[in-house]
């Protein structure tokens, strides 16, 4: 446990070192926040109450998306390209020589990264958004606590998905295609492009039960106060369920990979 705390801290520090990258990221998130916010405003102007959100909620959703983009690795990033590269180059052998579990190791590092990104890349865009637009932000600290819990569970789901994608490198020597598919699925089904409750009929029903909804849609709805009481517990359970299932799948794939597949190169 102390090891994983240390790994988490090093993940945090590692990203904190590159402050120029952080500043550039914050700038990009803020600019995109404005672009998407004005797009949503135009859309909600035509279709008020679209998906059950009022305009302020919709714009809040936009800025939450920008704030969580880096932390929840909605555009990919984080560790998985690095792990793929280590698998491809054979450096993963070093990870396997260590008396630590591969998945927990990378999870700890990714949680440290997410913590940094939540602070470094999340706060400023949300603050700018709230200064310029009218946002629906809760007054109750408890709601914020629920929100952070939902974000943490979402990061777990996001990690679990990216871990599966990363491990594919044991079989596919070029992960570009799968990374691309993963990115598109993540953007579309997390709600990053449009909130999932806007999706019509069967597509909406499908999107709501897929794991990506745990990454952005649920945390956003928790903050917007859409989930209350038992509904909130159900939402957390949904996230935790996907996190456990996908982490377990990652474990299974990891043991198949390490047992069967030759580590590339010497």
């Amino acid at each position: 446990m102390r090891l994983h705390m240390a790994v988490m801290a090093s993940g945090f520090r590692r990203y904190a070192t590159y402050w120029a990258a952080t500043a550039a990221g914050v700038f990009t998130n803020t600019v995109f926040g404005f672009i998407v916010a004005y797009t949503y405003i135009a859309l909600w102007d035509q279709r008020p109450q679209l998906g059950g959100y009022d305009l302020a909620q919709a714009v809040t959703f936009v800025w939450l998306g920008q704030a969580l983009l880096a932390a929840s690795a909605l555009l990919g990033g984080g560790f998985h390209e690095e792990l793929q590269e280590r698998i491809r180059s054979g450096d993963v052998a070093i990870d396997l020589y260590r008396p630590v579990d591969l998945q927990l190791w990378w999870l700890a590092g990714d949680l440290g990264r997410a913590a940094f990104h939540l602070l470094g890349r999340g706060i400023v865009p949300l603050l700018v958004g709230s200064l310029v637009f009218e946002l629906t932000l809760p007054a109750s600290p408890l709601t914020w606590l629920y929100f952070l819990t939902a974000v943490a569970l979402g990061v777990l789901v996001s990690f679990a998905i990216r871990y599966l994608v990363a491990l594919s490198a044991f079989w596919l020597l070029d992960g570009t295609g799968l990374n691309m598919i993963s990115l598109v699925l993540s953007l579309f089904f997390s709600g990053m492009i449009l909130p999932l409750n806007v999706f019509p009929g069967a597509l909406g029903d499908l999107a709501a039960v897929l794991p990506w909804s745990a990454i952005l849609q649920i945390p956003a709805d928790v903050l917007l106060g859409e989930h209350q009481g038992t509904d909130l517990v159900t939402a957390f359970a949904f996230q935790a369920g996907w996190a456990l299932a996908l982490l377990a799948a990652g474990r299974a794939l990891q043991s198949v990979a390490t047992r069967k597949v030759v580590v590339q190169g010497g």
Partner: protein, 324 residues
Amino acid sequence: MTADDAAFIEVDGVEKVFTVRRRAGWVRRERREVRAVDGISFRVPRGEMVGYIGPNGAGKSTTIKMLTGILVPSGGRLRVAGIDPAADRTRLARRMGVVFGQRTTLWWDLPLRDSYALVRRMYRIPDDRFRVNLERCVELLDLAELLEVPVRQLSLGQRMRGDIAAALLHDPEVLYLDEPTIGLDVISKAKVREFLREVNAEQGTTVLLTTHDLTDIEQLCRRVMVIDHGRVMYDGGLEGLHAVGESERTLVVDLERELPPITGIPGARTVRVEGPRQWLAFPATASAAPLVSAVAAAYPLVDLSVREPDIEDVIAKMYAERAG
């Protein structure tokens, strides 16, 4: 010495077969078996430092991967400290250290000190042990100035020393070194060798050293194993290699003037003539004295020297014979 110590590393008829698929038409794939390790056996007692050499693709790295448990042997039996590496990788990992010349176990973005802090947690090294070991490594490997520098800013030689320290902080019983001096300058090489010698002598660490730099072997190992095509071709003392490799020493003679190649010296043949200097090859196992007197008796000798066979040549010859 217990039975466990006499055969700290135990390798019995170990094989590793890879299946390689190759395109053989539009859809058809041909499966081909490659025997990377083809039935090797050896034992290494605790505390021994053994050189493990062979040409590229001989099966060295594959052997090390099996010994560390990240590759499962296709056949045979393998034990390190009584543990089956592949079945019990994590347990063994606490007792071994691995250094790759071409890869780093350090964290690119972190200062050396932070990397060591992670290593400490990873191997659950007690505080006092960690302090003593780090101090020793810092002193012997000259790391004091480097501890606060991020790994990505270190030179190759500095990084290598940092890596070796990282592999030894948890007092491993066995150390696998894969090309630990590759790309290093003469001074760094000497420093690394000196340190390894000391660790082996003081801690009784068992060391398996893979290298292409035979000076590493000559300076560190009394025993050497030569592997090629996945088989052990030689296992014994360094000196023995010369006998097995039918290697030759060279007598270099300077004559008073240019003369035709020297002939009629029993047990020697002239291999090169350059002006008044001539080179005579004779078996490494034979004495040079009678040769010198025979030459001196028949030719106007000015000066002479004897060159020991180059171990590199011996091994190259061994590989060539095997291939032919």
